[in-house]
């Protein structure tokens, strides 16, 4: 999957064009648009203290980020004391190498995986395949996109870009043992089919890799929330469990986690809680009925620590619920793959330039109407539009803004800073435009504004400016 290493993010507009002309994608996005937003709304309306919980959730993460070094050390101590190992990885490459080393030491051939966006960020599956190890995604959505050789199009619903029919087609293509008359038209039937296959993989796996929703400094515990139970089987059955997570997943105490959990599932899927909330602390202890012999945590930085103290620190509060993309009109229109790398939607528009560079990711923070719906639903109160604007400021400072926009807006600002010239010039222009369109009331095409007129008419001005008319009628300054 070369998208990890070669993001198509610089071609966002072309990607979006293709997405807008993909009828299956548009059908799938139509369902997402309605489903997730309604579910969240219902869940939130049932919890009167939800807004207060959002404040509290924000404060917990702000406190954690202000003392991140202390909590990281405390966490590492606890993991070590429980018999596990913590590996700090500064880059994606370091993280991959740590994991491949563990795999090599254990002679691993098959690795089962729970859903993990950090695994996507470090392109772990590619690296494992190159090393002769077979990664098996066990989350149904991840399993589907692995069959298709795709990356997730949504951070909590990796396959939301697909219709049921497409998934059935993939299953029939890959699961060649399936009789033709086997009914796979319902999602539950697809799930049963995937489960049958995965059950054998769970038992055969040498290592299980999961992500983490939270890492608890107080206890050295990693926590995952899932709906399918695949995460539990991934981390309990193999002899070795590797947790791969980014360092901002640290949370001080279990009490803090319980608060964050109350906003997480409600914001994500509209559930009060996810079906499974699984805590794991170190390897199997004497007397434990199950659990791995070996327990590793790979903590990825990958540029995050350099966001601390900058305009972008807020982003490190993100708990990956996906509410921002579920409510984003741009994401609804183009889907997640158009964003061209691992993280889509508003959170991706802020995070991607940080992680792959603003030169490559710069279009994303521009592709927003600033409607603010993402910020209004973010459980962590992350000012997403504000941070997209900060990226635009960086681009402008570095002359990365496309020249047409730069000069067009520059000219407008130049005129607007000269009120007399503005009044004189606009009076003439509006008069001409108004006269030209006096019969239709609109323009069907307009030079330098085809971005507008390709898709809609441009209503014509009335012909006089308000300021000149006001002066005429009221005689004031």
């Amino acid at each position: 999957m070369s998208v990890h290493a070669n993001p198509t993010t610089p071609h966002f507009k072309d990607n979006a064009h293709k997405a807008l002309h993909d009828p299956q994608l548009q059908e799938a996005m139509g369902k997402l648009r309605v489903g997730f937003t309604a579910a969240r709304q219902i869940a939130v309306s049932k919890l009167p203290e939800f807004e207060a919980l959002r404040d509290s959730a924000r404060d917990i993460k702000n406190h954690t980020l202000a003392h991140l070094d202390l909590y990281l050390e405390a966490y590492e101590k606890k993991v070590t004391a429980s018999g596990g190992h913590v590996h700090f990885a500064r880059t994606a490459e370091e993280a991959r190498n740590v994991i491949l080393d563990i795999c090599a030491k254990r002679g691993a051939k098959t690795v089962t995986k729970g859903k993990s966006m950090i695994s996507e960020e470090i392109a772990l599956n590619d690296a494992m395949e190159k090393a002769g190890i077979t990664p098996v995604e066990t989350d149904l959505g991840e399993y589907i996109i692995q069959l298709r050789g795709e990356i997730p199009s949504h951070i909590i619903g990796p396959a939301v870009h697909l219709t049921k029919d497409q998934v059935e087609g993939d299953f029939r293509r890959v699961h060649t043992h399936l009789p033709k008359d086997r009914d796979l038209t319902e999602p539950t039937q697809l799930l049963t089919e995937a489960r049958g296959i995965l059950r054998e993989k769970f038992l055969a796996a040498d290592i299980g890799i999961t992500g983490a929703n939270f890492l608890v400094a107080e206890t050295g515990t990693s926590i995952i929330v899932t709906n399918e139970g695949n995460g539990d089987l991934t981390q309990i059955l193999p002899k070795c469990h590797i947790v791969v997570a980014s360092l901002e997943k640290i949370t001080p105490t279990l009490e803090d986690v319980s608060q964050l959990l109350r906003v997480l599932a409600r914001s994500a899927t509209g559930q009060e809680m996810s079906v499974y909330t699984t805590l794991s602390t170190g390897p199997r202890r004497p007397g434990d009925v199950d659990g791995p012999e070996e327990y590793h945590v790979v903590l990825l930085d990958n540029g995050r620590s350099s966001m601390i103290g900058t305009d972008f620190q807020h982003m490190l509060r993100c708990i990956r619920c996906g509410a921002c993309m579920n409510h984003c009109p741009v994401y609804h229109a183009v889907g997640g793959h158009a964003y061209g790398w691992v993280y889509p939607g508003p959170m991706g528009a802020v995070l991607t330039p940080s992680l792959i560079g603003v030169e490559k990711g710069g279009q994303l923070p521009n592709a927003s109407t600033f409607c603010g719906r993402c910020e209004s639903v973010c459980p962590m109160r992350i000012p997403l539009p504000g941070m997209m604007r900060h990226w635009r400021e960086r681009e402008f400072e570095r002359h990365l803004t496309p020249s047409a926009a730069r000069y067009g807006l520059g000219l407008w600002a130049w005129v607007a800073k000269r009120p007399k010239l503005y009044r004189f010039g606009t009076r003439i222009v509006m008069h001409v435009m108004g006269y030209y369109a006096r019969k239709t009331g609109k323009f069907f095409a307009m030079p330098f504004a085809s971005g507008w007129t390709d898709w809609r008419d441009l209503p014509a001005p009335q012909g006089k400016t308000f300021q000149s008319e006001w002066k005429k009628r009221r005689g004031t300054k």
Binding site: A16, H17, L20, P329, V330, A333, V334, N366, A367, T369, F370, C371, G372, R373, E375, R389, R392, E393, F396, T401, P402, A405, R406, L409, G410, W412, A413, V415, A416, K417, P419, Y422, R423, T426, V429, M430, A437, R438, K439, T440, G441, K442, G451, W452, D454, W455, R456, D457, L458, P459, A460, P461, Q462, T465, F466, Q467, E469, W470, T476, K477
Partner: protein, 266 residues
């Protein structure tokens, strides 16, 4: 300045550049509403609030334009704009522009505290309960994003529209979802914007109301432009024109002078 006006109700009307250039009738409607509510209205020299520059990352120009607005308007008791977007820029974002300059930031904060969106100013500050207007039509109302999320404009226009004689408000689905305008976004990402506004027009048309109202001219021009491109005849207006009973003074957005509303749709 009329000395007989109640003290503390001197309003500087920030028409916004779109109203100034494209639709003066909205400015006059705003002035009438404010005057009917007992304000003295003045229109000082104005150009642009600086939002396009600010949202494009050009902080220096945004700052210069903000300062120009502050200088022109800070003598008034209130600054009112018939737009949630421009009002949001002045009320919420001006202080951000002067971070690192405590003197100017203090001034910007004091200025921001006086800035309001027109309809919410009428109801929330002036206590206007009803308007004297007739509009015997069904209409649907779109919540423009900045007005809704930055300025809290949602119930206020519905409340006043409810007092317009003959008007029946028919709510569209997802009235709080963006129309796809987004200022320069509509031109820079025209195709995506086109798709978003197309979906919006589907929700508008599903109401079967012959009239579309909103409180921001940018969004209105976007939706009117898409409706007309689809060949759908619809009367699109700024909410102030209806509330001020001034719909006879100008044809709907995107329609020529002499426009007649189709009788059958009334």
């Amino acid at each position: 300045m009329n000395a007989g006006q109640p003290k503390g109700r001197r309003v500087g009307l920030m028409a916004t550049c779109l109203v100034d250039l494209f639709r003066p009738s909205v400015g006059f409607a705003a002035a009438k509403l404010l005057e009917d509510a007992g304000c003295t209205v003045d229109v000082p020299s104005q150009t642009c609030c600086g939002q396009p520059a600010y949202n494009s990352g050009d902080k220096a120009d945004a700052r210069a334009l903000a300062l120009q607005v502050i200088e022109a308007f800070e003598g008034f008791d209130y600054v009112v704009a018939p737009s949630g977007s421009c009002a949001g820029m002045m009320a919420k974002h001006y202080p951000e522009l002067f971070e690192g300059d405590p003197e100017l930031q203090r001034r910007a904060r004091a200025f921001s505290a006086k800035c309001f969106e027109l309809v919410s100013f009428l109801t929330d500050v002036l206590g206007v309960e009803r308007v004297d207007a007739q509009f015997p039509r069904q209409a649907t109302y779109h919540d423009s994003c900045s007005g809704l999320r930055e300025m809290g404009v949602q119930a206020q226009p519905r409340k006043l529209l409810g007092t317009v004689e003959g008007l029946e408000l028919v709510e569209m689905k997802d009235s709080d979802v963006c129309c796809g305008f987004g200022g320069t976004f509509a031109v820079k990402f025209g195709e995506i914007s086109g798709q978003i506004v197309d979906r919006k027009t589907q929700d508008i048309l599903a109401t079967q109301a012959p009239v579309l109202l909103a409180g921001d001219l940018g969004c209105l021009m976007n939706m009117a432009g898409r409706l007309s491109r689809k060949g759908r005849e619809m009367e699109v207006r700024h909410v102030a024109e209806v509330l001020a009973n001034m719909t006879d003074e100008a044809p709907p957005i995107g329609e020529p002078v002499g426009y007649q509303a189709p009788e059958a749709e009334r």
